[in-house]
Symmetry: C2
Subunit: 155 residues, 2 copies
């Protein structure tokens, strides 16, 4: 995507010229932003998961709202918050692999796939408890497809 290039380029140049500590500072906001979105996803997935497992009573409106939030959060663009040089080989506090930046199109496609699965959840979340498990399977599969490729297994 062309839109993020000037920003990414500036970030990459800064990293090359000033090293690790500067990169850590430079990318602190991007790290918080993308980890923030994942935490928001995890929270809403947790609500749906608890209902799917029967740990919490199913409530259609709550399930719907959690599913709606998944769709909303997966609408955040994945350009600005993944500046080149913000991987686990360059800064601390991230499990993001450098491969992200050599496969950015695939990385974004995987994010789009997650959105599609979130939309499938959104379509059924309010229809009954038994719909949650299969839909969560779809969302979880999309999560794993990206984690398997682009996230280090250790933190």
């Amino acid at each position: 995507m062309t839109s993020a290039r000037p920003f990414l380029l500036a970030a990459a140049i800064l990293t090359a010229s000033t090293g690790f500590a500067a990169a850590q500072d430079q990318f602190a906001g991007a790290l918080k932003a993308r980890q923030g979105q994942f935490r928001n996803l995890a929270f809403n997935l947790g609500i749906l998961g608890s209902m799917a497992k029967g740990e919490v009573d199913y409530d259609a409106a709550t399930a719907q709202e959690a599913a709606d939030n998944l769709v909303t959060v997966t609408g955040i663009s994945q350009n600005l918050q993944w500046p080149e040089g913000s991987d686990n080989g360059s800064i601390d506090g991230t499990r993001a692999l450098p491969d992200i930046f050599t496969n950015m199109d695939d990385f974004r496609t995987k994010w789009s796939d997650l959105r599609l699965k979130a939309e499938e959840m959104q379509a059924v979340a309010g229809t009954g408890q038994e719909a949650l498990g299969p839909a969560l399977g779809g969302v979880g599969g999309a999560c794993s497809a990206c984690h398997d490729m682009y996230r280090a297994s250790d933190s």
Copy 2:
């Protein structure tokens, strides 16, 4: 809003019956979710702010994308991640004041106001650097309107 009530009620009962430590655990996910969204907002506002101040060269596509993200994030509903009992008098790691839960309608209105200001930013972010400052003033005003009422001044 009725949709979040069963969840909120269950959370409130759990807090009353098992105390502070359980509340801390119980609300950890909600805390991360809402703080995650704020960090995502802060990151995108930072990009726009840097351009507004001239610290970073204006780039229309980047500004537009940051503004789009603001609108997206302000689409997250503010019910599930604000369970009653998750204020700074009940758990650590939050500046959220208990008044949120006695003024929930006003709290949600202030979030809606933020979305309106984000949409005003979205409408002008790609039109030129000089549009960013005034639009950021609007967004910042909406942030402050809520912080002044519902966030403790110390962390």
